[in-house]
């Protein structure tokens, strides 16, 4: 029998998620632990999460450098001791500080957890914030900043956040070379003292876990309350988008311009969020999206163009971003606006919509694949204060989308006349 190569094999549509049980417990001092026990390998990832992101800082870079300095020496270990001992276990410890939270991520073979935990506990609770160490770190970061600052992509990212949220808002403010010179150890100590306490901490565990994992966490982080015991008040900020819609930042000698188009948008807990992500994925969120098909695959203006919702805890944004040939920046902008208008005025055909739904369900399955990915998904639930059926609801909503709903969400949230435009480079 000759093979029929023109028709596609039958496919199944993913409708159910097999989300593993989330195990909730707490350490003796009350720190909540949230665990996902999955995987065949004897490895574990632990994340200590503090509400200690940029939202809580009183000056730019304070949260970031507080996080970075944790590995630069603690009460019982010098920076070199810490590095040596962690490397001897083949363990990795990273500090991550974003707009809302600060976290310490530990990746280790389970058998070394007993060695790793006392090091981490000392780093988190008793960092020394040495003057010389800070000075050196600041110099390194300043140099890296100056390199980034040459790239149109980074300039656009920084300027665009300020246009969307206002340059005094934690989501819109960013460092200048000057802000590096304003750092000192006392403001980092102060930030650490206020925000890195057991009452402001949550622990997420994923990987192959047994009772010894929880016992070790309790032994090194749970025996007593530590750090600040009166939780800091949540600072309040209100976002203020630029009222001027068109922005241009010229830069000489560039081959490509960075372009941004977008507006403030809704977050994960808004009932429209799921539907809007379907509309925005169809528009610019995957390789076959309308933006990619038009601006890369048809016109060849760019290597890549992407649109998506960027949800923070207190506010969110819809952003279209790309780097395009410097001579076609305005043409690319025109095409983006054309596509935005088309999205809200012409009904999407069912074939395209069903493709996007299936693609998104597959992406769901991929993004919840493996212990660490699941751990990350659970962390998101807690950070955004979402219910455990969030992902299943998300998947259900994707499948319930219709062309009418796409039009509705596009008109409500993605109107081209409301977008703020930025071009960095040439236009």
């Amino acid at each position: 029998m000759t093979l029929n190569r023109t028709s596609a094999p039958k496919i199944q549509i993913i409708r159910e998620l097999n989300f593993p049980t989330i195990e909730k417990a707490s350490l003796s001092n009350g720190i909540p632990t949230i665990s996902i026990n999955v995987g065949n390998q004897e490895i574990v990832k632990i994340q200590l999460v503090f509400k200690a992101g940029m939202w809580y800082q009183s000056q730019v870079l304070q949260a970031f450098f507080t996080g970075q300095m944790l590995e630069e020496g603690s009460r019982n270990f010098t920076a070199s001791d810490l590095a040596e001992k962690l490397d001897l276990c083949g363990a990795h410890v990273h500090q991550k500080v974003n707009r809302d939270n600060a976290s310490i991520e530990i990746y280790t073979l389970s058998k070394h957890l007993e060695t790793v935990m006392p090091l981490v506990a000392d780093m988190v609770r008793f960092p020394t914030f040495g003057e010389a160490e800070l000075k050196q770190l600041v110099e390194q970061e300043k140099q890296a900043f100056n390199v980034r600052n040459q790239q149109v992509k980074h300039i656009a990212q920084r300027e665009y956040s300020a246009l969307l949220f206002g340059n005094q808002h934690p989501y819109g403010s960013s460092a200048t070379e000057e802000s590096y010179n304003l750092l000192n150890t006392s403001i980092l100590k102060e930030f650490h003292k206020t925000n890195y306490g057991s009452d402001n901490c949550r622990i997420f565990v994923s990987g192959k876990i047994d009772s010894s994992t929880q016992n070790l966490l309790d032994k090194f982080l749970g025996q007593e309350k530590w750090g600040n015991q009166s939780l800091p008040n949540l600072p309040e900020f209100s976002s203020q988008s630029s009222t001027n819609k068109l922005h241009y930042l010229p830069k000489e000698n560039v081959l490509q311009s960075a372009i941004r188009l977008g507006k403030r948008s809704i977050g994960k807990s808004n009932p429209d969020y799921f539907g809007l992500t379907v509309a925005s994925t169809l528009f610019g969120g995957y390789f076959g999206s309308r933006l990619m098909s038009n601006i890369r695959e048809d016109k060849g203006y760019t290597y890549g163009i992407y649109a998506g919702i960027y949800p923070h805890i207190h506010d969110s944004a819809f952003i279209i971003s790309s780097e395009v040939g410097a001579d076609v920046a305005q043409k690319a902008m025109d095409e983006i606006r054309y596509e935005l208008k088309r999205l809200r005025t012409e009904s999407v055909d069912l074939e395209e919509l069903s493709l996007v739904k299936n693609y998104m369900s597959g992406t769901f399955l991929r993004s919840l694949n493996g212990a660490f990915a699941l751990g990350e998904a659970v962390k998101t639930l807690y950070e955004f204060n979402l219910k455990e059926d969030y992902y299943q609801n998300y998947l259900n909503t994707i499948h319930e989308m219709t062309p009418e709903k796409v039009l509705y969400y596009a008109n409500k949230y993605l109107h081209e006349d409301q977008m703020i435009e930025l071009i960095v480079g040439k236009k």
Partner: protein, 418 residues
């Protein structure tokens, strides 16, 4: 331990199946044994441009991406000096869609004129975005021709110059496909919660009838031993000076290769590594410094790259780096330091094996090197390496006459100093 079963189809296609029941996702990976080292010097960037054309639709399937996305799948590809590798991940239930798509573009690619025109332009934008419009983006465009005078590694996968991509004609593209995109020059890997016998049946069904191509001679002229130190200095609009120093080393898969890899770990993997600890943290000579190997199939490069700290000249930074290199040549490592590196390697192996796709790609690469068992032998090789071997390889590699050095100077810094 990465388990696998190996089969060879009548048309010469190698099939490897890896079983992993911890995931609902399956990975299908097709590696073609062609990279930029197979290009001719006046038509560089071709293997990579061709990778883009592979997404332009095949004779029976006008769009590659759409049916895959419809099946909940995702795909990507990469080209390097030695191989072109395509991979798909999708829900296990829809695996046959991946077989259908990959086999059709191996059987008969569409070659639309529009696809060639647009992808030429996309690749030119990629060239600009990654190599020309980035600070330090052209470093490898400078370093490779400095280190290689004979071997095709002297050009980058993206191509020597934009002109070569602009000049690509349809006839060149078709000839390239005919020569290299054949089952006997490819390796198919399927990884996930699958049954090897069933996969073999699917592979026979979709790939079995694709005719084999002519066997390839593929003789690549090897680089003669370098006998003189090479040096290049450039000035660019970047905020800080940078130093690059490369040494020729052994081919991938040899014992010497693994020893060099370990040497790069001793020098710069982790916060306790020598270069980080001594030259960044203790002496404050560099603000960034890294040592790594290029991982090429033919003899590749051992690379040092760094940026001197504020106020330190390239010359004195280089001198300090050379002192550190001298130390690893003259003093033998302690057993503790060796053990630390072995522990780190053990951990990174275990972490890497949690990804089904990583395992699939790893298997394909080992098979294309001619020894699929390497995926599991590597661990034993690393575990067996002795301190004396590290010292010997350091002495063999890190010789002045085996080195190429690039001073990448900042125009602004230079201006300030005047």
């Amino acid at each position: 331990m990465i388990n696998f079963k190996k089969y060879t189809l009548k048309n010469g296609l190698t099939l490897l199946v890896h079983f992993d029941n911890a995931t609902p996702i399956v990975a299908l990976n097709v590696l073609y044994k062609v990279g930029s080292r197979n290009e001719s010097p006046d038509k560089t960037g071709f293997a990579h441009l061709f990778e883009h054309l592979m997404f332009g639709g095949s004779v029976n399937i006008p769009s590659f991406d759409q049916p895959l996305e419809k099946a909940g799948g995702e795909n990507n590809a990469f080209t390097n000096d030695d191989i072109t590798n395509y991979y798909i991940t999708l829900p296990k239930e829809n695996l046959e869609t991946a077989f259908w798509l990959e086999s059709d573009r191996m059987l008969n690619l569409g070659f639309s004129k529009k696809s060639l025109e647009v992808q030429r332009q996309v690749v030119i934008e990629e060239f600009k975005q990654s190599y020309l419009n980035q600070p330090y983006g052209d470093v490898w465009l400078l370093l490779k021709p400095l280190a290689y005078k004979t071997h095709p590694y002297q050009w980058n996968t993206i191509g020597k110059e934009i002109k070569h991509i602009e000049n690509a004609r349809m006839s060149d593209v078709k000839a390239f496909y005919k020569k290299y995109y054949n089952p006997n020059n490819a390796i198919l890997v399927v990884a996930g919660n699958v049954d090897a016998e069933e996969i073999l049946i699917l592979a026979e069904k979709w790939f079995g009838e694709i005719p084999a191509g002519k066997p390839l001679a593929n003789k690549i002229e090897q680089e003669p031993e370098q006998n003189e130190a090479r040096f290049l200095e450039v000035f660019r609009d970047v905020p800080a000076d940078a130093l690059y120093k490369v040494y020729h080393m052994a081919a991938r898969g040899t014992r010497e290769y693994y020893i060099a890899d370990m040497l790069s770990d001793v020098l710069s993997n982790g916060n306790s590594s020598r270069l980080y600890r001594r030259l960044i943290k203790e002496q404050g000579v560099f603000s960034e410094l890294d040592a790594h190997i290029t991982g090429d199939f033919d003899p590749g490069l051992f690379v040092f790259s760094g940026k001197p700290a504020e106020g330190i000249s390239l010359e004195s930074a280089e001198e300090k780096l050379l002192e550190e290199i001298e130390r690893i040549k003259t003093e033998i490592l302690s057993e503790e330091e060796l053990q630390k590196i072995k522990n780190k390697l053990e951990a990174s192996h275990i972490f890497s094996e949690t990804s089904t796709l990583n395992n699939a790609i790893h298997l394909a690469i080992a098979e294309s090197l001619g020894n699929v068992d390497l995926v599991n032998q590597e661990k034993a090789i690393y575990a067996d390496i002795q301190t004396i071997e590290l010292q010997q390889i350091a002495q063999t590699l890190f010789r002045l006459e085996n080195s190429s050095t690039l001073y990448y100077r900042s125009n602004t810094k230079n201006h300030d100093a005047q």
